[in-house]
Symmetry: C2
Subunit: 618 residues, 2 copies
């Protein structure tokens, strides 16, 4: 079936990949050569026989895609690029250096990397999104993802498994490099190939078990995968960790250890160099089909939404409406949800654009991971769920930040204002989670108009962004001419006599406005700020207001005290010597009515009045 | 096999559970009656035939345990307690009220609840830990966990699946209430019972598929589960959402909707009341065996570790040594790890106490979940992995905080100081994640002695706690008489002439000490604080130092700027009008040598010197 010359050539490529991986890690003094060696034959077949891609053009939308889910095998990926002429062989020896983009684990600083990997079990989730994207752009590109056997223990892998099964993603081909060894010792299922086969089959995949060092078998498996219709394929490849280096083959204790310069390194290279075989010229590698596509149109601005002042609309509902409006305007917009589209209101988008909506069911990790895959291939994905449950995907959000991924995350039902469902459903740490990442934009609108306007801003701002929405209905306070921008805020009440600046966002904006009116009856005026952009933050205006209100800054937020709006404002004004009085939730809350909870946990109008009054006394 | 009278009695109990669930949710005006109705027959069998427990004594260590993984069915759980005489029937009508402990989703405010649920896919992970704990205390109690079909899509469920399989946990019995409907529409596999059976079988469980409304079949299934050896059992119960209320049975659109008072409610109750059947007295319910155990001994204090000043020891290694010392002293201590025990050094504990060590493989969610289960049953669990990968379990940590769970989490390899592995492996948001939870103690020692001493403090402090450790070796700076306490700090350098207070922790303590020496050569003195307890924080000493150093506070941390030490100190001193100058990582970092990265990202001694100098100029 496969000419022997092709097999011989690929075998030699695999040997070169091993040599390059060993060289690079020894030069770096750290890294995972044995994890590269187990995968080298698979990598040679993937990159030099199976995949159709144009090595000169990473951006070609019809290139087959490859994701290294076992990110610690980065050196073998870089070696494959060198073999393909994408980077120089010399560059390989800069591995893990500060002045090199060949990092310890792959990141999208490199144009051929779609998503950063290194946190295991994530690459396959992104691969699901990349494969789904092929449908969106009507491309026949295929998506390949190489996993380690250790990472199969991650639950996220099984979220990807059922998502790909549900979507019948036959353009997705996974390969598990079952070298049987984890970091510390044997992996969970070691070399029990049946354990892998049974599980993937039960999850609806076409499964092919092979010897991962038998090049003929590898090529046949890829042929079979490519001709399999209606389901994704998982190739379970039994391999040997450290394959090709006699004194480490299959031995524990060699994870993440480079060979020492000198005798050890020389012996490893010697072992490998012996493995070259005579070869003839390999068959020419296939290239991607060129697909002609109409030039991308710049979407027209959305224009103002049709809300009237005083309308009572939950920001979560305004989110859904805005997303549907945006979807009409821009075909790149896709939405994903985790079985709560009737609560986040992403169902408004789904109803109009069912082909661009992906139901992740109750599986938040693959939802965010797939969104990262979509974003990497040019879509503008909006994954949404209850903000509390985004914490299930915190590690994915962390890696999305590392990737600079263009995902637009929406979390609904923030804070104690959700009421009766209780603390499991209250997001009180989502701002802390999102703000911690220095490149995530964090938006938190209080009414329907600002929500709508900020969705558009968020969509066309490059990089990861988060919008926090609320469960209760809130009155529309903005009109069609009000302007919102990333990094902006709105001063809602301002007078020369203001004794304090109260900074609120979301539901607490209305508490602050009420406090303004209550204090007004006593002849006291306060400034009220709607901090709809929590990150980046409008430092200049905050500092100006602090100066104009005698340094009295009070923040009030439906969030725990650590990592939220209070901390954001405090960090912004610290350089000018101002401190911040924080009103926030300070204990684990319980079920109750929303107004009752806002009051009990110290973030209602009454508490703002007290803080202002106390500040005046101090 | 089962006397018909028993079946009739259980059937009637199930009807009463349905009626109570409907009543409570209608009274509350929110909640999930239809999710209760599908589970009612299963609940009746579990609580009134299968489980051996003493309803008067929640604390009996030999009681069989029940976890409601589908936490939104809380009303049916509360109804079962009322039926068992644990709470009053009147109490049921306080559901979801602020003055009631019967919250929207169960929390351990109630003594029969081991772990808070409501975030799906977590209860089964805790159940794994609860079942493992039976082995620790040599009890034959069994652990039951009821799951919804929707939550089976969560990857964490499959982590629990392989963990229970690997541990051959035959005392664990899961029940999936396959009512076929999620929140928004059909669940992922709807009523495809084979889809569930195949997956659980592939994961090594004994699987029994039944009609979840056929009481005879339910009882037979539990008999079969109880007699199954060497593997856990999953009962896949096909049910009907809203079962018993004719006009909602199996209908979508009724998730999380109580019946409206009046006609709708009356009709539902009428439907249910018609279902009572004549019954004879049921068989007496089994009780747990009483096991005689020696009285618990109070562990003796550990005494100082044997490090010498100047020894170079990584805090992660000191963590492992301390844990092993603690384990010798206290049999309640157990350790868990996610395949990186040779990096976190939990392997030091494993080598000495293999029976109290649990390898979770690369599955951080079940590691934290199982730790919560252990903690709920009296163990003192220390789960550990790279701090970066604790973010994979962020939602579990959130729920552990809600549970007030007595888990002792350790995260190694914090910050850019890990060097070459790159950003995927650098925890730079773990302090933000942990600090966000108001009841999590956050410790961050800089040397081996403080690590050792704080492990003991952490173990015997009730409630969730986190210790952050570092990869690089650092010199021992403390002696055997130094005292460390939760909420404490150490002033390492102090003089009357100090011009600034530099607050550091972990690796940056040594940068601060170096800055102290560099500035000393210019005749400038600074105060240096080792903030080993980040939460709670020693506000009084920080305020005193701020006053004594002209308000110049500089924090320096190997963490992103948001949510870390700078924010913690700023929040502490804000009430006294002080602001904080934060040195922290402010962008996504890259691979490189540790010292290079500390310097490039602005947290080395040089930057501290610059900040002090600048502060003096301002």
């Amino acid at each position: 079936m496969h000419a022997s010359s092709r097999v011989a050539a690929l075998h030699n490529i695999a040997t070169r990949l091993r040599i390059d991986s060993v060289r690079a890690t020894t030069e770096a003094g750290s890294g995972h050569p044995t994890s590269c060696c187990s995968a080298a034959d698979l990598m040679a077949a993937i990159f030099f026989s199976e995949m159709r891609y144009d090595p000169r053009t990473a951006s070609n939308p019809d290139n087959d895609r490859f994701v290294l889910s076992k990110g610690h095998a980065a050196p073998v990926l870089y070696a494959a690029w060198a073999e393909a002429g994408i980077i120089s062989h010399d560059a390989l020896l800069t591995l893990r250096r500060f002045d090199s983009d060949l990092e310890g684990h792959p990141t999208p600083r490199l144009p051929w990397v779609d998503v950063a990997t290194g946190s295991l079990g994530q690459g396959i989730c992104a691969a699901v999104g990349i494969a789904l994207n092929a449908r969106r752009i009507n491309s026949d590109y295929r998506t390949y993802v190489l996993l380690g056997d250790g990472e199969i223990a991650e639950g996220s892998v099984w979220e990807a498994a059922h998502a790909a099964d549900h979507e019948k993603l036959d353009s997705l081909c996974g390969i598990v490099d079952v070298n049987g060894l984890g970091q510390k010792g044997p992996s969970l299922w070691n070399h029990d190939i049946k354990a892998y086969v049974d599980r993937w089959q039960a999850f609806g995949w076409h499964v092919i078990a092979i010897d991962g060092h038998d090049m003929d078998a590898i090529l046949r498996a890829f042929d079979e995968a490519r001709s399999t219709r209606g389901k994704p394929t998982m190739i379970v490849a039994k391999t040997i960790k450290g394959k090709g280096v006699s004194f480490v083959e299959g031995k524990p204790g060699w994870h993440g250890k480079p060979f020492k310069k000198g005798e050890e390194f020389d012996r490893a290279i010697g072992d490998l160099e012996k493995q070259f075989v005579p070869e003839e010229l390999p068959a020419a590698q296939p290239r991607p089909r060129s697909v002609s596509r109409p030039p991308a149109k710049s979407p027209a601005p959305l224009g103002p939404p049709s809300y009237a002042l005083g309308d009572k609309v939950a920001t979560r509902e305004a989110y859904g409406s805005a997303l549907a409006r945006l979807g009409a305007n821009d075909e790149r917009v896709v939405a994903l949800d985790a079985d709560v589209g009737n609560s986040t209101f992403s169902e408004k988008f789904e109803k109009q654009y069912p082909k661009r909506f992906f139901e992740a069911y109750i599986a938040e990790q693959v939802m965010i991971g797939a969104a990262m895959g979509f974003a990497a291939r040019g879509a503008i994905p909006f994954p949404s769920t209850f903000a509390a449950f985004l914490s299930r995907a915190a590690d994915f959000i962390r890696m999305a930040a590392i990737s600079g991924s263009n995902i637009k995350v929406a979390g609904s039902h923030a804070g104690v204002s959700i009421g009766e469902d209780g603390p499991s459903h209250m997001a009180l740490e989502d701002l802390a989670m999102m703000r911690a990442q220095p490149n995530i934009t964090v938006l938190y609108p209080c009414d329907a108009v600002s929500t709508d306007r900020l969705i558009e801003r968020m969509a066309y701002h490059t990089g990861p962004a988060y919008m926090r929405t609320s469960r209760p209905k809130t009155p529309v306070i903005y009109g069609p001419d009000d302007v919102f921008r990333i990094g902006g805020l709105n001063v809602l009440r301002e007078a020369g006599s203001d004794v304090a600046t109260v900074i609120a966002a979301g539901v607490t904006v209305f508490e602050a406005l009420e406090a303004h009116d209550l204090l007004g009856k006593q002849g006291i005026t306060i400034r009220v700020i709607d901090l709809y952009s929590v990150q980046p933050i409008d430092t200049a205006t905050l500092v100006r207001c602090a100066r104009e209100t005698k340094g009295q800054l009070i923040t009030v937020e439906d969030h725990y005290v650590a990592g939220g709006i209070g901390d954001a404002v405090a960090a912004a004004v610290a350089g000018h010597g101002f401190a911040v009085h924080r009103l926030a939730v300070r204990e684990i809350p319980r079920s109750g009515a929303p107004e009752q909870l806002l009051d009990y946990y110290g973030i209602s109008a009454r508490h703002i009045v007290a803080a202002v009054t106390e500040g005046r006394r101090a």
